[in-house]
């Protein structure tokens, strides 16, 4: 893969609102589907989700029967603030993923920094590539 030396300008994408029928949302309000990057390595699958504006305490990661659901709430702005101009919507985030058999659900870990959620989904031991020692 060749490396490009020119600086790539970032593109804007509109936030995608979650359709009401899809999610199981206990709170009313607008929810957006967070954009994610999903990486696979030998040991684990790592998921990065953009959820700006979500406090750790307002983030819910629910794993149930091979379904992983992320729900994040975003606090509403102070009512004193009058919205003068608006290019993006403010709302919570919600997205569901289906986990394959490869994941060891008991070892899933999560961290949240600067609006990015990092979820590490370790692969079940039996599925990690193993080097087989050859005895002479």
């Amino acid at each position: 893969m060749t490396e490009s030396t020119e600086q790539k300008e970032i593109r804007v994408r509109d936030k995608e609102e979650v359709k009401k029928e899809e999610g199981e949302l206990t709170r009313s309000g607008v929810y957006y589907s967070p954009t994610v990057d999903i990486l696979e390595s030998g040991d684990a699958i790592t998921l990065f989700a953009d959820i700006p504006g979500v406090d750790k305490g307002d983030l819910d990661i629910d794993v149930e029967d091979k379904k992983l659901t992320l729900t994040g709430l975003v606090k509403n702005r102070d009512k004193r603030f009058k919205a003068v101009y608006s290019e993006y919507g403010v709302g919570g985030y919600c997205r569901t993923f289906r986990l394959g058999d490869t994941i060891d659900q008991s070892k899933i870990s999560a961290s949240l920094k600067d609006g990015v959620l990092t979820l590490v989904l370790p692969k079940a031991d039996r599925l990690k590539p193993r080097k087989i020692e050859i005895n002479a």
């Binding site: 790539k8 970032i10 804007v12 990057d37 504006g53 979500v54 009058k82 003068v84 600067d114 609006g115």
Partner: protein, 144 residues
Amino acid sequence: MMMRRGYNFGSLWDEMARMNKEMNRFFGHTESVSRTGVFPPVNVYDDGESFVVTAEIPGIDPEALEIEATQDSLTIKGERNPKVGEEGESFHRKEREYGTFSRSLNLRQPVDPDKIRAEYNQGVLEVRLPKAAEAIPRKVPVSA
């Protein structure tokens, strides 16, 4: 953008919104994900004493953000870098956008550039621009 004197502040944002709508109409609302627009999308609020400009820019180093302000403009520059895949890693999905960004906003109502403050929390950049003293409406007491 046409500069007109004596334009009240509300109209500036209306004009930007109008231009934005026209641009969207011109380029057509397509199914594709990216639209014409400058990153980051911003929201502007008014709390009486200041304008507050917010932008969602998750996962950047705030030290690398460049924010410049004059009495009538605000510029936000920076870069979002991808997490580089290591040896043996492959992407299942790559939805997040990366790259450089540079955005300027013209402010028609004057602000005090020395008092501008910026905060970056949970991936949201918030720039507070206190209005210049003469721009704040004053209550005039009426003596009986």
